[in-house]
């Protein structure tokens, strides 16, 4: 699916020919890897999922996605992101993100036996330098992000590819 979207997007007309639209909603397909590490938890993994992207005035973005990650067990990740992009075909973007991990993880219990809270979460930033906005959709490669749970935990994410289709 993602290679097909990539091919279609790269062969489509450039953005200037596109009629102006104030608000667009696009389904997203994502492949990425996430690692959260703290004194209490190691969680994350590699996998993929689906989501939605809302674009306002070709500049502002809101994304939400759900992904299934493997490697440390069966983990479900949910992310929301708010950001802005540069208008044009090459449209690098930056996002403020909230991510939450559910399911399997490695836990380190406290002395009195308490387990870490569920879900594992973090607030952070994500940068999409190789993001391209085309008539049929968007393609973004190698997005990098980092975040924290404000308790010493570090969230790292690397999005291999994110592709959206515009209707």
């Amino acid at each position: 699916m993602i290679p097909a979207l990539l091919f279609a997007a790269l062969n489509g007309p450039l953005t200037p020919a596109e009629p102006p639209r104030r608000l667009t909603l696009s389904p997203l397909f994502v492949q990425n890897a996430v690692l959260f590490t703290s004194d209490r938890v190691t969680a994350g993994g590699a996998g993929g999922g689906v989501g939605l992207e809302l674009e306002l005035d070709r500049r502002f973005l809101a994304q939400a996605d759900v992904e299934v990650l493997l490697t440390l067990g069966n983990t479900v990740m949910s992310r929301v992101a708010l950001g802005a992009q540069r208008p044009g075909t090459w449209s690098p973007a930056a996002f403020g993100t909230f991510g939450a991990l559910f399911g399997d993880r490695v836990e380190f219990l406290t002395g009195d036996g308490r387990r870490p809270p569920i879900p594992t979460w973090a607030l952070g930033l994500r940068v999409a330098a190789l993001r391209f906005r085309l008539r049929e959709g968007t393609v973004s490669l190698v997005e990098a992000g980092a975040g924290t749970d404000f308790g010493g935990g570090l969230w790292l994410e690397l999005t291999i590819i994110q592709a959206g289709v515009r209707f």
Binding site: T37, D39, T42, L70, T71, L72, G73, N74, T75, A100, F102, G103, D104, R105, V106, E107, F108, L109, G111, D112, G113, R114, R115, P116, P117, I118, P119, W121
Partner: protein, 328 residues
């Protein structure tokens, strides 16, 4: 309970609570009866026997840096476990499983429960060892025997079963066959003792596999749990927190624990229990992540910490008092 945890997870996000701890007074008595220094005496005898024992055939097991496959022995340890458990009054048997040259001789001693005999609390340690195998795993066997000695003088509501698993160093064959034969289906809690005698109180003496945080000082007993045994681990932590027996670190691998990054936690006889869905904990000093003599000729009794061994025996004895419900 699992449904509740799932609902909790999906709806609000929360920290799962630790189970309530029962009255420890009766169980504490078992811990107090551990004889200081007795485990080290046993380690010395077991290690001397391993050094003198004939070695197992090693065809098909190439020697590697951490795997001196042609230095493995088990004869004397099997005999020692069987004779000791018999002398303590346990109903003892040796279960031979598999085919030559990889027959596993698991030694089993049982102490039937008074009214819930079908619920088994199992304590295990592997009896095969490379070279002298003081830490790996004469230490585990010695603690098992000391706890068995203490428990032999008491009665429990649940059945206590002590098992010396064979051929752990050949891919956990003894425990795998035992579990796959259904012999562990009555086990409600298993404590697997895997290298429990090496401690180092200096900074920089504790290493860890990627993703597992075990601190920097090698002075703690590490308990490895999975999703099926996390409540057991919480109970042990609560007991230790109450009685302050030994520094503990508990690592819980999610789900079955059989995942890429948590593979090191499946290296011992707890692995087959986890894969079978039976609640099991591995108690360990973390072996090669702490002990520089791991699988080497230098794994000798004089490198071990007798106080640490006694503390582990005290914790295990107290814990089985709780889990098997010792009668006052």
């Amino acid at each position: 309970m699992k449904e509740l945890a799932l609902a909790c997870t999906l709806l609000v996000g929360c920290a799962p609570a630790a189970p309530a701890l029962p009255d420890l007074e009766a169980a504490r008595m078992l811990g107090r009866e551990v004889s200081p220094g007795a485990s080290m005496v046993r380690v010395e005898a077991l290690a001397a026997d391993h050094a003198a024992d004939p070695k197992l055939p090693c065809d098909g097991f190439p020697e590697e840096a951490l795997y001196p496959s042609c230095e493995l022995s088990h004869d004397s340890a099997i005999r020692t476990v069987r004779e000791t458990l018999e002398s303590l009054g346990y109903a003892t048997r040796v279960e031979a499983q598999g085919e030559e040259p990889l027959v596993a001789y698991n030694v089993v001693g049982e102490h039937p429960g008074t009214d819930r005999a079908s619920e088994v609390v199992l304590v295990a340690a592997h009896v095969d060892a490379f070279y002298s195998g003081a830490d790996d795993n004469s230490s585990g066997v010695a603690v098992l025997l000391e706890v068995a000695r203490v428990a032999s003088a008491h009665r429990f509501h649940r059945t206590l079963r002590f098992v010396g698993f064979d051929l752990e160093e050949r891919g956990a064959r003894g425990s795998t066959r035992y579990v796959n034969a259904g012999f562990a289906d009555d086990v409600v809690a298993a404590l697997v003792l895997e290298c429990v005698g090496y401690a180092d109180h200096r900074q920089g003496t504790q290493d860890a596999p990627p993703g597992l945080r075990l601190g920097d000082v090698g002075d703690s007993l590490v308990i490895a749990a999975n999703g099926d045994s996390v409540e057991l681990a919480q109970q042990m932590l609560a007991i230790d927190d109450e009685l302050d027996i030994v520094p503990l670190r508990v690592v819980v691998a999610g789900g079955s624990g059989a995942h890429f990054f948590t593979g090191p936690l499946l290296r011992s006889d707890n692995g087959p229990f986890w894969l079978r869905g039976r609640p099991a904990l591995m108690l360990t000093d973390t072996a090669n992540y702490r002990n520089p003599h791991y699988h080497a000729a230098g794994d000798l009794p004089e490198t071990l910490d007798s106080d640490f061994l006694d503390a582990v025996a005290t914790l295990v004895a107290t814990t089985i008092g709780v889990l098997a419900e010792v009668t006052p």
